[in-house]
């Protein structure tokens, strides 16, 4: 009898304890700490802490910074020291945009100019140099240099399945300013195919819903955008797309009339817009919303195509303000035949 009573009491105690756990469910079930990325680099691989890891989880971490916020260009090739940290074994590509233009670069002085180089982290951090002759700017100019990380550029949904490792889901743009003390010489750079793009631009009146909830300060300073691909704002993956059907991108941009933006589209990690080839320098207009429609031809690509759109502010050093929401964004879409 006593044993039975004891077991009941034990169960009640267990219930009470479980009930208490509900009250403190904010306590993490698993906690992982990654040590200092730069001054105390960790050699330990980063593991997912997911508590039900049976759906291709891909938890990664990432950090990066320019060593100098202001760069001086005095002719020849510009060398830009850069620090980045990531999970061991992870692959991270970098895109550079200078004054809104895709900027090809090298990682070694005698290396190859490309728009994207991929770094594989063999330890938790890396110190690299972007080396390039600027594609924009002349003596006396100040231009923004924007670096954007692209996660695992070789990843394809049709090969690896759906994961959180979309090309730009963890992309965080960062900026440095380039002061031109000399004008760059024109050099041969990797070419792009301007024929793959068909565009139209128009300005329409802003609707009340576009600025719903905006403060007075927002109305002066904020910018916002929406983007849709093949008519969908919500989907990232497009299955069963015929190669002959062009990808239709619709972008709407509105807000701060002082802000100047560029939009660059990349198909399979190569820009389909570049200097003198339809890079879109977009300016907001007071009370207007810009609508950009783009059709991107991917007929030459028989397998899955990865499209990302990068929107970057080109004159942030002129308009910087405290409550900025974003100065560059990137979205990825997978188009699968």
């Amino acid at each position: 009898m006593k044993k039975q009573l004891f077991s009941i009491l034990f169960m009640i105690l267990l219930l009470a304890t479980t009930g208490c756990a509900q009250g403190v469910q904010q306590l993490p079930t698993s906690v992982e700490t990654v040590s200092n990325m730069f001054t105390r680099p960790s050699e330990e691989p980063i593991q997912s802490t997911d508590d039900a890891a049976n759906f291709q989880p891909y938890s990664f971490y990432f950090s990066h910074s320019f060593e100098q916020d202001t760069l001086i260009y005095e002719g020849g090739e510009l060398r830009v020291p850069f620090r980045c940290a990531g999970g061991i074994g992870s692959k991270v590509g970098y895109l550079l945009l200078l004054d809104g233009q895709p900027q090809p670069y090298k990682l070694e002085p005698d290396g190859e100019y490309r728009y994207l180089h991929t770094i594989t982290f063999t330890k938790a951090f890396a110190e690299i140099e972007f080396i390039f002759t600027p594609v924009a700017g002349t003596i006396g100019d100040t231009a923004e240099l924007c670096a954007i990380n692209v996660n695992d550029p070789a990843y394809r949904v049709s090969e690896s399945g759906i994961s959180g490792n979309m090309h730009t889901s963890g992309s965080i743009p960062i900026l440095a300013t380039v002061d031109f003390k000399a004008s760059p010489a024109i050099e041969d750079m990797p070419s792009v195919d301007p024929d793959s793009l068909h565009t139209s631009v128009e300005y329409v009146d802003i609707a009340a819903s576009d600025i719903l909830g905006w403060s007075e300060d927002d109305l002066r300073n904020r910018s916002d955008y929406t983007i849709s691909v093949n008519g969908s704002q919500n989907d990232s993956i497009f299955w069963n797309v015929a190669p002959n059907d062009p990808i239709h991108v619709h972008l709407e941009l509105w807000g701060n009339p002082k802000a100047e933006f560029s939009v660059v589209f990349y198909l399979n990690n190569e820009p389909v817009t570049a200097i003198d080839h339809n890079t879109f320098h977009l300016c907001n207009q007071q009370g207007k919303k810009l609508k950009l429609d783009v059709e991107i031809d991917h007929a030459d690509i028989s397998e899955e195509a990865v499209l990302y759109a990068v929107i970057v502010c080109n004159n942030l050093h002129d308009i910087y303000y405290d409550n900025i929401q974003w100065f560059a964004e990137a979205r990825t879409y997978y188009v699968i035949p």
Partner: protein, 134 residues
């Protein structure tokens, strides 16, 4: 005696069931250290009402960076575009509930949560916490 045994069994089953159901609502957490922001901790949990609560905290925020949380939901064949929520400049914590708007025929089975510190113009931190929803 039999009654007591039955009660014991029932209580045990209830306790185990509650334990299992609570584990669905358990939290995933990850912490990353950065020189600038100290410990940056990201958490996610499922909250009552069909939303995923995503939070990011930083020990310090000396350069007025912005914290940003994001959530991408997957149905297994589709992945939504990222929904994002930002803090004000200089904040050291941000919590946001991302509603799961889905249908019975096409439920979300997984969520990828992003935790960012950015907009300090020259440095940034990003990492993910994930969660199985099925």
């Amino acid at each position: 005696m039999k009654l007591l045994r039955r009660i014991s069994c029932i209580v045990a089953v209830i306790a185990i069931t509650m334990g299992l159901s609570l584990s669905v609502f358990a939290q995933t957490s990850k912490t990353v250290y950065s020189d600038t922001y100290g410990n940056v901790t990201g958490r996610n949990s499922v909250v009552t009402g069909g939303a995923v609560r995503v939070s990011t905290t930083a020990t310090r925020n000396p350069d007025k960076a912005t914290l940003r949380n994001s959530a991408q939901f997957s149905t297994g064949t589709q992945l939504t575009t990222a929904r994002k929520a930002s803090s004000s400049a200089g904040a050291t914590s941000l919590t946001y509930d991302f509603e799961m708007i889905t249908t019975v025929d096409n439920p979300y089975v997984y969520v990828f949560c992003g935790h960012e510190v950015y907009l300090s113009t020259s440095s940034a931190v990003y990492f993910q916490t994930d969660r199985n929803l099925s």
